[in-house]
């Protein structure tokens, strides 16, 4: 009965929203998947080349596309290009055999659950592993952006005057540059590939929208009577900003956080696709889609489909969950 806090009421409203609740379950399932991957229980061996190159998904059968791919493989054999056998061919095959501990064509599966990529890696495992990378990047970058946006917005909105002016100036400069150009510029400056870099790029450039909203909320709240009342009892500025006002604008921050997770997952895909994203030793949905471009020409659509379905499901669920959360957190409580 004592559970009557604003959060408890919001949770009660949220539970009534069936679609939102179902979306939450999907999102939580993804998070569980990511945790399992991070703990090493799943998809640890995603780099193992377990299938034949471009092995089709199991439900299509081994024959699907096989004849075509063999033809192309034969055509792609450098040996047959000039009619001269590759002098290093046998040696390379030997080295490859030693490195992988197995013969390249021996014991490889002809089909895999969702097919295989060019090197015969399991697309399902790649997609699962990619989920970890993409969702982690989305969450971490959104956390960075939200933290910056909230902090700057709080300072600018609460302090006003010069502080507000300088943050607004920074905001105007950052937003006057086209987003993708800005992201690529930062990527070019950092010039280092990796998950951390992507998080920094997205986080450092993506806080502007949150800043604007939080600033407006702080401007609205700082003249409210409860803040004046806090001043009257002697609460310091920092206390008023973060103990009194922040909980009252936290619904805005939460909704923005969740919106930006979706935005940054998509941005990571774009960045990686353009070649500024995660490195070749990492797999993300973005790198899968980047590979899919050339594969599609060969008619190998399964990697593209897997990455798209995994991403679309999460992004849709996350967006619906955000919508439901916004409705539930609507603070028009009387």
């Amino acid at each position: 009965m004592r559970e009557s806090s604003v959060w408890a009421l919001a949770w009660r409203r949220f539970r009534r929203d069936r679609l939102g609740f179902f979306s939450l379950i999907v999102v939580l399932a993804y998070v569980a998947l990511v945790l399992a991957v991070a703990a090493g229980w799943l998809a640890r061996d995603w780099q193992q080349e377990t299938g034949v190159s471009f092995a089709p998904p199991t439900f299509l059968g081994a024959e699907a596309g096989a004849s075509e791919s063999i033809k192309i493989l034969e055509a792609a054999q450098p040996a047959s290009d000039y009619g001269i056998p590759d002098p290093l061919g046998p040696d390379l095959a030997e080295i490859a055999k030693v490195l992988t501990g197995a013969s390249p064509n021996e014991a490889r599966a002809l089909t895999l659950p969702l097919g295989a990529d060019k090197w015969g890696r399991d697309v399902l495992k790649k997609a699962v592993k990619g989920t970890e990378t993409s969702l982690f990047i989305g969450l971490a970058a959104a956390a960075v952006a939200t933290f910056l946006g909230t902090l700057f917005g709080a300072l600018a909105g609460y302090r006003g005057g010069r502080v507000d002016d300088s943050f607004n100036w920074l905001y105007s400069v950052l937003t006057s540059i086209p987003y993708l150009l800005l992201v690529l510029a930062v990527a070019a400056v950092i010039n280092q590939k990796g998950v951390l870099t992507v998080i920094l790029i997205l986080g450092l450039t993506g806080w502007t929208g949150i800043f604007r909203l939080v600033r407006a909320e702080y401007m609205k709240h700082k003249v409210r009577e409860y803040v004046l009342a806090a001043d009257a009892i002697g609460a310091s500025n920092a206390r008023r900003m973060f103990v009194h006002i922040l909980p009252n604008v936290s619904h805005v921050v939460l909704v923005q956080l969740s919106l930006h997770v979706v935005l940054f997952i998509k941005s990571e895909v774009i960045l990686t696709f353009l070649g500024f994203g995660v490195g070749v030793d990492t797999v993300s949905w973005g790198s899968m889609l980047a590979e899919a471009g050339s594969e599609l020409l060969l008619g190998k659509w399964w990697q593209l489909t897997a990455a798209t379905v995994f991403m679309a499901l999460l992004v849709t669920a996350f967006s619906l969950f955000t919508d439901a959360m916004r409705d539930a957190l609507d603070p028009r409580l009387k």
Partner: protein, 557 residues
């Protein structure tokens, strides 16, 4: 002959899947032709819902009208007529004025356009005829220079003028029935007087019937022929106005009449509703005398207090708004200085300056000889504790995300009162009991309390610091009269117990007369008169004070 007959009206609201609220429980009353019927009640009594149901404006998604209910307008049941027919009646035959003129007018259209819309739709006027009629209407509701005013936007008018525009729109089609839902509650007392006179004049000229909805019985005594007193969705009493004020039958009506501070006496405590509901009549009280002898030590003394706000105009120019212009006053130890004035008079700014919540532009505030405005924030901390403030709106002054325990222990935490959390919680519980709330309320959140209870929490928060000066800025103005009486009693008890001084700010002259030992009248940022309450009310010196006093409703009473 009756223009409107309401029979067995019951209205139920669906709040969520499992809860419903019976807002109106089978009420019946009549509005005769050319007469004024007043629906009186406190918040939650169902009076506004009744008015909305007559207009057919109840929200269809969650309101349902009982099957036996009938609202007969000239013999036709408004509950069964079709949508298009109702739309023809609305505005043309039945018109309504709402409480907040600022939000009832559309800010993006000119006044002339909004009046013209009614004329176009219901009377089919256009062009020059429409414009002439609109000017005529503005003239009739007493707006100066109506020709020019036709092309201004609502925000360029004062609150009183906005309400006049609303009235002009309502009477544009010469309705037979005018419903006025608290038309003057948001307005200053002198403006209220003008609007009431306007409504009375219009009613007579146009031979309208009026359904007047208000919480203010004194206002009703001036205008109504017939009074219907409502509480919790039921009618407690209905009678002709003259009879009801002379000889109220119902205990609740008697309580409502008695819990307003009287103009000629000053009982030690104000009677509250419960006294009447239990015993049928109020307790008899000894009187309290007010006023200063003149030799009381001063707790706080302000001299030449001034505050200006600046607005940027154009590129380089600034416009200065002098909110307070050189106010000087003193507050005696253990006594109450009342401040009265209308909106914009600077009374709230004075409170904020004294509490150091705004930076003063000039002047000094001496507290025990020390000038509070000259010291920095760190030095001011110990004084902050001794001057506390209770704001007007209990819905806005408590942090909605804090529990009552957090609200009450925070000031003690900041000022280092109490040894540990346990002790502070115990003190908070004790204070809650003192302001009349159960100590179990500590774990609750503000939204679980009513307005009066929230204001008690705000008072308890101020008391945690044991202030010597408590500033009450319209602290009881937003509350129902019965709750107001309880809080005034509480404030008085606390003053008697702790010997606190009050700076008591209100636009309500009766309340200030009841509470204050000295009254300061403010107008446009200036102090125009300071005097003892009895003297000021009996013998006002300044013309503005005289105007204020003559505007208090309840001449007939």
């Amino acid at each position: 002959m009756n223009l409107l007959e309401v029979r067995d009206l019951s209205i139920r609201f669906r709040i969520d899947e499992s809860t419903t609220l019976d807002a109106v429980k089978g009420i019946s009353f009549d509005v005769p032709v050319r007469s004024t019927v007043a629906l009186v009640g406190e918040s939650g009594s169902g009076k506004s819902v009744t008015a909305l149901s007559v207009m057919g404006l109840l929200p269809p998604e969650n309101a349902s009208v009982g099957p036996a209910s009938r609202i007969l307008y000239r013999g036709r049941d408004l509950l069964t007529v079709g949508r298009s027919e109702m739309q023809k009646l609305r505005g043309a035959e039945i018109a309504m004025i709402f409480q907040e003129p600022m939000s009832s007018l559309n800010p993006v259209f000119t006044v002339g356009f909004q009046i013209g819309e009614v004329l176009r739709k219901h009377l089919g006027l256009s062009g020059r005829a429409l414009r002439e009629r609109a000017i005529e209407l503005l003239n009739e509701v007493g707006i100066p220079e109506p020709r020019q005013r036709l092309d201004v936007y609502p925000h360029q008018l004062s609150g009183g003028q906005q309400q006049r525009v609303m009235i002009a729109m309502a009477i544009a089609c010469e309705p037979k029935l005018l419903i006025a839902d608290e038309p003057t509650t948001a307005l200053d007392v002198t403006v209220q007087r003008q609007i009431m006179d306007l409504l009375a004049g219009l009613q007579e000229r146009h031979e309208m019937a009026m359904l007047f909805i208000t919480h203010d019985l004194a206002l009703v005594s001036e205008i109504a022929d017939h009074v219907v007193v409502m509480r919790d969705g039921e009618i407690r009493e209905q009678a002709p106005s003259s009879q009801l004020f002379r000889d109220p039958r119902d205990a609740y009506t008697r309580a409502l009449l008695a819990c307003r501070p009287p103009r000629d006496r000053r009982p030690r405590r104000l009677p509250v509703i419960d006294d009447f509901m239990k015993e049928g009549r109020g307790p008899t009280m000894e009187q309290r005398s007010r006023g200063l002898r003149g030799d009381e030590p001063a707790l706080l003394e302000a001299r030449g207090l001034a505050k200006s706000f600046y607005f940027r105009e154009g590129f380089f120019r600034q416009r200065e708004l002098k909110a307070v212009k050189g106010a000087s006053f003193r507050i005696a130890k253990g006594k109450t200085l009342g401040v009265v004035g209308e909106s914009g008079s600077g009374k709230t700014t004075v409170a904020l300056l004294v509490a150091r919540l705004h930076q003063a532009s000039a002047g000094e505030v001496r507290f025990e000889g020390r000038d509070l405005l000259a010291i920095d924030a760190r030095e001011a901390m110990p004084y902050k504790r001794r001057i506390q403030i209770v704001f007007q709106n209990p819905y806005a002054s408590l942090n909605p995300r804090f529990t009552v325990a957090q609200i009450l222990t925070e000031p003690m935490l900041i000022h280092g009162i109490g040894a540990d959390d346990g002790e502070r919680r115990a003190m908070a519980g004790e204070l809650l009991r003192k302001v009349g709330l159960a100590p179990e309320s500590l774990e609750k959140y503000p939204h679980e309390f009513s307005g009066g209870q929230r204001q008690r929490i705000a008072i308890a928060r101020a008391l945690t610091l044991r202030p010597e000066l408590l500033i009450c800025d319209e602290s009881v103005s937003a509350l129902d009269v019965s709750v107001q009486a309880q809080l005034l009693n509480l404030l008085q008890d606390l003053q008697d117990e702790y010997a606190m001084s009050y700076l008591f700010i209100s636009h309500d002259l009766a309340v200030v007369r009841y509470m204050a030992d000295e009254v300061m009248v403010m107008k446009d940022g200036e102090v125009v008169e300071i005097a003892g309450p009895d003297e000021l009310y009996a013998n006002p010196k300044h013309p503005y004070t005289r105007l204020l006093l003559s505007s208090i409703p309840g001449r007939v009473q």
